[in-house]
Assembly symmetry: C2
Homo-oligomer: 211 residues x 2
Amino acid sequence: MTTEVASCAKKSRGRPKVFDRDVALDKAMTLFWQHGYEATSLADLVEATGAKAPTLYAEFVNKEGLFRAVLDRYISRFADKHEAQLFCEEKSVEDALRDYFSAVATCFTSKDTPAGCFMINTSATLAASSKEIAHTIKSRHAMQEKTLCEFLTQRQARGEIPADKCIGELAQFLSCILQGMSISAREGASLETLLQITDTTLRLWPQMLKI
Amino acid sequence: MTTEVASCAKKSRGRPKVFDRDVALDKAMTLFWQHGYEATSLADLVEATGAKAPTLYAEFVNKEGLFRAVLDRYISRFADKHEAQLFCEEKSVEDALRDYFSAVATCFTSKDTPAGCFMINTSATLAASSKEIAHTIKSRHAMQEKTLCEFLTQRQARGEIPADKCIGELAQFLSCILQGMSISAREGASLETLLQITDTTLRLWPQMLKI
């Protein structure tokens, strides 16, 4: 990241440093992901992004505005790509789920980003004063279960899941495992461990459809 | 809790207010559970416990000392009781696991304590400066998986689990589900939802032993 700022500064030699919104958002994302929303101060964000405080205020109004922009960027950089693994009609249900779980596991354990799930980490310890942000993160996080519901409903309509199977319960169970994987990752579990959990889940899948 | 302090004050009328260590620890526990270790300041702890700062310092030295005492109390008030559900030789493996999961689910969703797991919540956003506390919480939290391992190993020795089944993998998977339940609870899942997840897990149990 330092390199990007440096090269950006070089390009604009003699002119005011160009504010790179995406670079700033990525640096802010790392801070929020690591320390949570509450514990990340605007001063920390100013320091990490290398932007001047007035620039950040002009662009995002306040910490909440910056966080919302970071959340959008997180979704386009990560969540959308994970979900694309799921919504691929040529794949079997098992393959789509395995690819989705593997993509999420890879993200949780990637060395390029803090360990665990961005949304679980950021919402960990929200103060009473951050109700709106808490609501935003929770709604977005609940979307993971909704996305799984949507995917499973499509596959049920195609006859790949028994018609009498409760999709809500299935999605809830799969979502619980993904959340558990996030905590395991934060506590140091390796990608290998998470892929083993994924494998167990998929080997149980045929039985999940029967019980 | 206020009532306890009041009645304690009444009893010691005319003498200095008696410091009730357990009441103070329970109040500190609620704060740490709700806001995490990092975001809970000594000033917050002084206010919540109603104790004077010098009393807290004399008793616990510093925030870290107080947290360690809270952790011990959490273990005796909660963790030990949950584990007792597991280590009951008369129960079948399934019954022991169901009772253990149900006890944990009840704790995660109890109105008497903040939602979710004390250890997952407190360790959510630890600063680099809190390495020792991070280590303490992680070691203690890893004990959940170790406890499951110990239980499953005992049952394998009794022939209730196939001899060739990898206990480590089983414990890892069950532990992942418990961690996911903690996050679900923190995001508002009801006891009913967590018991449904428990039920699904137990209905998958025979298959877990086969795959």
